[in-house]
């Protein structure tokens, strides 16, 4: 899931902190946009759709498309509307719609 990144960070000024995504340790820039930092760290996909399990990554980066949904410390949130904080535990939201959902 973590591959060589297709996104380049221009300036490295901020302190990096440790977060976990699906159990993998990542060093991300503190206080920066979480979706952007996960992209730069080479994360793909962020989640799988409940309907077909198709992979998804951020699409709009402005809180409108909800394709960057991730689970942070147990709560499903939009990564693009969240800032990186030390110790965040991130996972893909439960992927398939269950029968009772």
């Amino acid at each position: 899931m973590k591959t060589a990144s297709d996104y380049r960070i221009l300036d490295e000024t901020r302190q990096r902190v440790t977060v976990r995504f699906e159990g993998n340790e990542l060093l991300l820039r503190e206080g920066e946009n979480l979706a952007a930092e996960l992209l730069a760290a080479g994360i793909a996909p962020f989640r799988r759709t409940p309907v077909s399990g198709a992979p998804r990554n951020p699409f709009c980066m402005m809180g409108a498309c909800f394709d960057c949904l991730v689970e942070i410390d147990g709560v499903t949130r939009q990564a693009c509307m969240t800032e990186v904080a030390d110790g965040m535990v991130i996972s893909m939201p439960a992927s398939r719609r269950t029968d009772d959902a």
Binding site: L10, D11, E32, P45, M61, G63
Partner: protein, 463 residues
């Protein structure tokens, strides 16, 4: 509940300008915005990025600093990270900040929620690595991140701006695949007079094109049969241009064919909207001051019809003058005196718009895509599904929503609504106006049951 003279949703150019004009007129202003810093999408994070990346993003970005600076006015309360999820016809707002629900009410309400990228459903557009051109700009503005091995696809001056900004970072795009044709340019020539009156935009556009040419970025025009390929993520784009089939290997594909008003809030309140055939989208009904079909509620900026950042700023000030007049903080003479100058500026600001709209029309095959193309990203509903529901008798988007869930996912129709309207209009041979749009219901942003119940407790604790 927090009470204020003017409540504003959205701290982009329209919201920021309105806040300052209203505050200067003596009104108390509550400015709610869901981002952590003011600026909207166009001036996103300008306070942090102007110094470090101003040379890449350009003066049209750094000029937003002045608007942000004005928010320090003592009568403006700017609440950041505030996601508004319910708006009442009585100007009562419910919003969440850091997981806590709050309520506020204004004597007047201004909706300044700006634009969304026009959805561009082409085969493969849901693959990781495919984003809007606006998303790439946000990555650059807010995070100083640039997409590598990118291809820009669609139509409109924004593609040139994004390409030029990428070139300045040292990571140029691989190519620009443009859908507008020579005949679009010919039909735009009718509006050349307007474009010449708005000459600044022409000059800027030509300068960007020169920058792209100097960098040696290939441009393909009148592209058709666009599709994105990839296994698990975008790996290539295919298209036909000048009678030749092309395939470009790439990692990122940035789509754009115009922006449309974000009508989520205006729809949720039940304000009147109409179909704008020139901009090919629904637009809320407003008068020259931005006043909507509910007299206490105003809309300014791109959310009331696309005009761009400068026009939005002027529209925000105009709304604020009328609101100040409504609330007795300004007489009509002063309002009209101040508005006169603004209206002249607005006219010159919008002069080039008809030319731009015709020279860079939407990519028609993405307005009514082929059957197999997903149009509702959330629920993975295809264009063919919608056509099938039309055959079963669905005449409007709310019926297809019930039949196949299009528009029922977390984005609440933001990126499929216009496509569903267009598909149904075409299938049923009705106008877009007759076909209508989704009924949008609150909460218009996700809210937890915990937030709702905490709010109910504060409500019941009231005397």
């Amino acid at each position: 509940m927090l009470e204020t003279d003017l409540a504003i949703i959205g701290a982009g150019p329209a919201g920021m300008a309105a806040a300052y004009t209203a505050a200067q007129s003596g009104l108390s202003v509550l400015l709610l915005d869901e981002q952590s810093r003011a600026g909207g999408q166009i001036y996103r994070d300008v306070e942090r990025a102007a110094n470090t990346r101003g040379h890449i993003l350009g003066k049209d970005y750094t000029c937003g600093l002045a608007l942000v600076e004005n928010l320090k006015h003592e009568r403006i309360t700017h609440v950041t990270g505030a996601a508004v999820w319910q708006v009442g016809q009585d100007c009562e707002l419910t919003y969440s900040v850091a997981g806590k629900a709050c309520q506020a009410s204004g004597k007047r309400l201004l909706i300044a929620t700006g634009a969304l990228e026009r959805p561009m459903p082409v085969p493969g557009w849901t693959l990781p690595g495919v984003m809007t051109a606006g998303a790439a700009q946000i990555l650059l503005k807010q995070s100083g991140i640039v997409c590598e091995r990118a291809v820009l696809v669609g139509s409109g001056p924004l593609l040139y701006l994004v390409a030029a900004q990428m070139i300045r970072t040292g990571t140029a795009p691989l190519a620009i695949v443009e859908t507008q044709s020579f005949s679009d340019m010919i039909s735009a020539m009718r509006h050349l007079g307007g474009a010449l009156r708005g000459w600044r935009y022409l000059t800027k556009g030509l300068a960007l094109l020169a920058e792209i040419r100097r960098a040696g970025i290939p441009r393909f025009t009148a592209a058709t049969s666009i599709s994105i390929e990839g296994d698990g993520k975008a790996q290539a784009i295919r298209f036909t241009s000048a009678g030749r089939e092309n395939r470009i290997d790439c990692a990122t594909i940035l789509l754009h064919h115009g922006v449309v008003p974000n009508t989520q809030i205006s729809r949720s309140i039940g304000l009147d909207h109409h179909w704008d055939p020139d901009q090919r989208c629904f637009v809320p009904q407003t008068d020259g001051w931005g006043r909507t079909s509910l007299s206490a509620i105003f809309i300014a900026g791109d959310g009331g019809g696309i005009g761009g950042a400068k026009a939005a700023e002027i529209a925000g000030s105009l709304s604020a003058l009328e609101i100040a007049c409504d609330l007795g903080a300004m007489d009509k003479g002063e309002r009209d005196h101040k508005a006169g100058r603004l209206r002249r500026a607005l006219t010159s600001e919008l002069a080039a718009r008809p030319f731009i709209d015709r020279a860079y029309p939407p990519f028609v095959p993405a307005l009514t895509p082929k059957d197999a193309t997903i149009i509702c990203r959330c629920e993975e509903v295809t264009a063919g599904d919608i056509r099938r529901y039309a055959k079963l008798g669905c005449i409007g988007p709310n019926q297809t929503k019930a039949f196949g869930r299009a528009g029922m996912g977390p984005c609440q129709g933001r990126y499929c609504g216009l496509t569903v309207t267009e598909l149904l209009a075409e299938a049923n041979q009705k106008t877009q106006e007759e076909t209508g749009y989704y009924r949008i219901r609150p909460p218009i942003k996700p809210v937890s049951l915990g937030e709702l119940s905490a709010l109910a407790k504060t409500e019941s604790a009231k005397p």
